[in-house]
């Protein structure tokens, strides 16, 4: 169920690559793809033992990031809608994200850029702008019916975002993925962004939720179009839909139809989700279901 070529038999991904970067990088990226699939923008890898980024280094990284070619670090992952009744599945959207681990290794190999949450959050504002200008030019992203991007709320209120929408294919739908802390720190902007986004026929997703956040925060009241919950094995005990009323209450509060269960890496995760009424899934376990049409090199790498 992967696509290696477009209708004309051209490998657009490689063609795009030839124009933008040297081919050695392109091959390297294709090889890395399988290994890094599933890594997402705002979820930093575990502590590396490297020294934490300082504000001065952040300044340097921001400047580097503004001029670095980020194409090799742009990754994608499918989210599937499963229909258990009819035993079939369809692509809900493709998430495009920046592999921050790779980015760090390229720009600042000796520094941990995730160590300070606030400095990293500031860095992500520059990442947003680079992603907007890069993804809109990527043929395999342009082919997606629906694509999702991790953005800060303030990025939506910029000319860069407006330009992104202008240059996007006419019938493409966008899902803006935002973090709960961004929502709570900028709640007025959040409500404005919800209005603006839905007014244009696009959607909003609150990312990075887990049992602790769901317990503390009434996500349903924020009325996002989607809410992404990160699967963890302890869910089977913590939120057993059979034995634990809290689980079903929390899922009902958000609305199971809005939930994307991410980081699904096993049959268990899927089974738990389906039993809880969740229908949209993302993670290693589903990666083989889809690659964006036209992402030749990427598609081949994922099925090897």
């Amino acid at each position: 169920m992967t696509y290696t070529e477009d209708d004309q038999g051209n490998d657009q991904f490689v063609a795009w690559y030839d124009l933008e970067v040297d081919s050695a990088l392109a091959i390297g990226m294709a090889q890395d793809l399988k290994a890094s699939a599933g890594e997402t923008l705002r979820r930093p890898p575990p502590a590396t033992g490297l020294p934490s980024m300082t504000p001065v280094q952040l300044d340097y990284v921001q400047k580097q990031l503004a001029s670095t070619n980020i194409i090799p670090f742009v990754k994608d992952q499918v989210a599937m809608r499963i229909n258990p009744g009819a035993s079939d599945a369809a692509i809900e959207f493709f998430e495009f994200f920046l592999s921050v681990g790779d980015l760090q290794r390229a720009i600042m190999p000796d520094i941990n850029i995730f160590a300070d949450r606030w400095l990293f959050q500031d860095l992500s504002r520059t990442m947003d702008l680079r992603m907007l200008e890069t993804v809109v030019r990527a043929p395999h992203a342009r082919q997606c019916k629906t694509l999702s991007l991790n953005l800060n709320l303030e990025t939506v209120a910029t000319l860069a975002f407006e330009k992104f929408l202008e240059r996007s294919p006419d019938n493409q739908k966008l899902i803006v993925e935002v973090q709960a802390i961004d929502v709570l720190a900028n709640i007025r902007t959040y409500f404005d962004v919800c209005d603006v986004i839905s007014g244009m026929g696009h959607s909003l997703l609150i990312d990075g939720l887990n049992p602790t956040t769901l317990q503390m925060l009434d996500v349903g009241r924020l009325e996002p179009d989607y809410a992404k919950i990160m699967w963890a094995p302890e869910f089977t005990d913590l939120l057993n839909p059979d034995s634990n009323k809290t689980a079903s209450k929390m899922i009902d509060e958000v609305g199971p139809e809005k939930i994307v269960l991410a980081r699904c890496d096993s049959q268990d995760a899927m089974a738990w989700g389906l039993k809880s009424g969740i229908r949209i899934f993302q993670g290693h376990f589903l990666d083989s279901f889809g690659k964006p049409k036209g992402s030749g090199a990427a598609g081949r790498a994922a099925t090897r």
């Binding site: 300082t54 504000p55 001065v56 952040l58 300044d59 921001q62 300070d116 949450r117 606030w118 400095l119 959050q121 500031d122 303030e154 939506v156 209120a157 910029t158 000319l159 975002f161 407006e162 929408l165 006419d170 709960a180 802390i181 709570l184 720190a185 900028n186 709640i187 007025r188 902007t189 409500f191 404005d192 962004v193 209005d195 603006v196 007014g199 244009m200 026929g201 887990n210 602790t212 956040t213 317990q215 503390m216 925060l217 009434d218 009241r221 924020l222």
Partner: protein
């Protein structure tokens, strides 16, 4: 992208309209029977042709009443639709009429002025009221405006971008903090003498409805003062992420200062301090805590909601540790918008601190106000503190909404009167 959704609507929305309409209602409600010897004029600026409704035009309308508002013989309110409402002392009627005539001339070429060009009372730009006879009508109008809030039209992307641009350019506190500056400020902050910037402000309960009793006293560093000392040309809070990082350095200084204080009586009387979750998990806090027995008095740690959600698992861990030690946690800095999402019971904390705004006064007696009240009543165990109360109206509105704990300059003045 639908064409229709992108079309900006013809009617402008004044950015200050919301808060001014709240103030209008608060002021009209506050006018006692004996104090109603006032006139009111509404200037229908929204009826002017679009070319006459530019920002400069609207500003010149406001400034024509400057003299009277400065001497407090008139009060000016901007409505959401860009109309102006002016309440004035009856003795100033002639001066107000003169100002209105000036405006009629200013827009003499507007379609609206075709007839009645010079009569201050007979024209389509202004409507006049008498507070004595029209009080009920004016009150009803102000209540309607307040109730209609929240049903404002949806913004378009262009409007949102323009609004954010304008906010950035118009910031009176300088440019937003940038990383290279943050490094410098952190170094300076580690050395600056904080004692002159440190403030105390009590949180009070009103016993028998009248007398304020201090429940605990917040000790905090005045960010405004600190900004003036360390970086007068920078808006320290405009970048929320870098500001949050800066507060971690501040936390360490405050903890050290509190432990060192000769006068440690405050720590025994009940206090609150502002901290980050990361600080509570650090050696600095353990050192501070080792001298205290918080279960004997009210010891409150104030945390910001975005900090809590930046690392919910660390927060849950810190919260359980603090509960065991006898501390109470307060979720600080809540606004009407974030308040519903910071449920102290759900988050396992004791207090939620809501900042007073005139919008709250506008809500009393409306459907939104009833919903807020129900929420406050439901959170009895996680009690609501109304902060930044700078007027009696704040306390009055707060109590009507079921709030029992108050903080702010007005409360300070009551305490001073008492001692």
């Amino acid at each position: 992208m639908s064409e229709e959704a992108q079309q900006p609507e013809a009617t402008a929305i004044h950015p200050l309209g919301d808060s001014h309409e709240g103030k209008l209602l608060e002021d009209i409600r506050g006018l006692d029977m004996g104090a109603r010897n006032r006139g009111v004029v509404r200037l229908h600026l929204s009826r002017l042709e679009p070319d006459n409704r530019r920002e400069d035009d609207l500003l010149s309308a406001e400034t024509s009443f400057d003299e009277l508002t400065r001497t407090r013989s008139a009060w000016l309110y901007r409505l959401r639709n860009t109309d102006l409402m002016v309440i004035f002392e009856s003795s100033e009627t002639a001066a107000i009429e003169k100002s209105v005539v000036k405006l009629l001339k200013l827009w003499g070429n507007d379609e609206l002025m075709k007839r009645f060009k010079s009569d201050p009372r007979k024209n389509r730009l202004s409507s006049w009221f008498d507070m004595n006879t029209d009080y009920d009508k004016l009150l009803a109008f102000a209540e309607r405006q307040a109730a209609a809030r929240g049903t404002k039209k949806k913004k378009t992307l262009q409007e949102l971008i323009t609004e954010k641009e304008t906010m950035r350019q118009k910031s009176e506190r300088g440019h937003p903090l940038i990383p290279s500056e943050l490094a410098r400020v952190e170094t300076a902050l580690a050395q600056v003498d904080l004692s002159s910037h440190t403030r105390r402000q009590p949180v009070c309960a009103f016993v028998d409805g009248e007398t304020p009793e201090t429940v605990f006293t917040e000790v905090f560093v005045s960010i405004g003062d600190l900004r003036k000392t360390l970086m007068p040309n920078t808006d320290m809070t405009a970048n929320p992420w870098l500001f949050q990082r800066l507060t971690q350095t501040l936390d360490k200084r405050v903890l050290a200062q509190m432990s060192r204080r000769d006068d440690r009586s405050l720590l025994q009387e009940g206090f609150s301090i502002n901290l980050n979750v990361a600080t509570i998990m650090s050696e600095d806090f353990l050192a501070f805590d080792s001298d205290l027995s918080p279960s004997n008095y009210e010891a409150v740690l104030e945390l910001r909601i975005e900090d809590i959600f930046s690392d919910p698992s660390s927060f849950a861990f810190a919260r359980d540790f603090l509960n065991e030690r006898g501390y109470h946690i307060c979720i600080d800095g809540l606004t009407l918008d974030t308040f519903p999402y910071a449920d102290p019971i759900r988050m396992g904390v004791t207090y939620g601190k809501l900042s007073w705004s005139t919008e709250i006064a506008g809500m009393v007696g409306t459907k939104r106000g009833e919903e807020l009240k129900a929420m406050i009543m439901m959170r009895k165990r996680g009690r609501t503190i109304l902060a930044r109360c700078d007027s009696e109206a704040a306390i009055r509105a707060g109590r009507q909404l079921g709030i029992t704990l108050f903080q702010g300059r007005y409360v300070d003045s009551l305490i001073r009167e008492r001692y």
